[in-house]
Amino acid sequence: MAAPRRPSPAPDGPGADERVVELARRVGGVLAELGLSEIEVEAAGLRVRVLRTPPAPAPAAAGAASASAELEAVPRPVVSDAATPGLVTMEAPMVGTFYRASAPAAAPYVNEGDVVKEGQILCIIEAMKLMNEIESRVAGRVVKILVENAQPVEYGQPLFLIEPQG
């Protein structure tokens, strides 16, 4: 029977963090020592990248390890808070159909630019014939309405961007 050989790199185990911090410290030392401007290093595949930009910086600069965050998922088309700093996103708390008004002929609860109070009704989500009134969780100005009237929405789908006030 085949010896259980490990397939390729995957130094993900515990201790990996200690190792990478220690590695960053030591590589930073090499950078300072040699007056370089950049070292990239990868332990698993033995990868090294060394850089020195034309105006060599002061050799005393300490090496700062830059943590790289990895998100290995296929990005989904979602208006994220990160993209609109300072704004609050109101998300659908349930699956259903989004309505901007209480009835087809009625005026919309809110329009873009309106100032709303905390707890003010923003829209209705119809689910299983029930009309669920969705209230604003902040006071502020409605910057953007992200869903068209009478469209289906999923749980967590962004509906409104609101700029908090007061």
Binding site: M1, A2, R6, P7, S8, A10, D12, E72, A73, V74, R76, M94, V95, G96, T97, A127, M128, P152, V153, E154, Y155, G156, Q157
Partner: protein
Amino acid sequence: MFHKILIANRGEIALRILRTCREMGIRTVVAHSTADAQSLPVRLADESICVGPASPQASYLNIASIISAAVVTDSDAVHPGYGFLAENPNFADICRACGLTFIGPAPEAIRLMGDKAQARVIARQAGVPVVPGSELPLKDENEAVEAAEGAGFPVMFKAAAGGGGRGMRIVRGRAEVPQAFAACQAEAGAAFGSSEIYCEKFIEAARHVEVQVLGDRNGMRVHLGERDCSVQRRHQKLIEESPAPSLSAETRSGLHKAALAAAAAVNYVSAGTVEFLVDADTGHFYFIEMNTRIQVEHPVTEAVTGLDLIREQIRIAAGEPLGFRQEAVRLDGHAIECRVNAEDPETFAPSAGRVTAWIPPGGFGVRVDSHLMAPYAVPPFYDSLLAKVIVHGRDRAEAIERMRRALVETRVEGIKTTIPFHLRVLADAAFVEGRFSSIDGARLTAG
């Protein structure tokens, strides 16, 4: 035929259903929780819709949310898979009320078979032998003693609303009754919302054998042979095979007939499974319960029959006739399934975490049903099934050898899996010779 099916499930079974829908030209909507938003079924579906947060209660068990999702996506049918809402008759009722086809049996059949004590009565009335014991829920300790003595010790107390091995307790003598009765009642109440329990004879050298049935709306029903699911740990199946080894021809055909009789008693439509205990010593068999849904282990039946059971479920739900008779069902060769769970193979403790490498097995006679990819973070909210490895061979010996080599070449890194357990069982003499009766955890029992 349906235009679009909403899949109200996750993991390998969501992918399983999606695959058949795609082959049938039916659009799919995978309803998912936030925790599964990046899962393989969601990626591969034609559409997906988030129905709630990670907690199953708020998403996969959230009837309002699932129904709304089906409505707003213009789905005309819902496939519940197994677990979650698959055996919830209220959900099936609501689907019907909302004009959605529930892909499964009628709510009435789910309700009748869902009550385990009532199911026993139905089976007995249909002439199907049941394990000696109480027909009705036990009212109190006195009834429990009476029932246990009637069946003869050892007996088992079981939750009427239970399933999946939970809420069960072996009682070996009269002295144990009071404490076991109280404990089992409490457990049943906590786990299933109903503290009704009943009592049945416990068979020491028992094999767990179940028969797959299919019924259409015209009252036509066939069986697709049986599966042996005796290899379990804590009453959870780990290895299943078809046909069941070491059964006499008489026992085998008796099981098939009994299963059809039980199904007929509830006018069963769709795919269902009638579960039996077989006494390894005598060959006598006893009805335990009927599962009114597709089973995790359905692929072993697919392997030996060549039939796609999900396709049959969908066709039947759409009102199509079965289209073949019992004589046309050919059982060919031998198939085994191993469930690769994210669990410690010794303690069976869950091993949720991050899968850093995944190399599934392949080649002749090997099927893999899995939603795994690498990297993949196994969410801690749901069950631990990662992959089903199914092999098909000309006979049982070939299937065992094929399963061994398939599991030896499988790589799952980053978490622990049940593969080492499976390899131990596959190398065990009692298993290889088909002499095993029930196998619980790492303990193998020759029957």
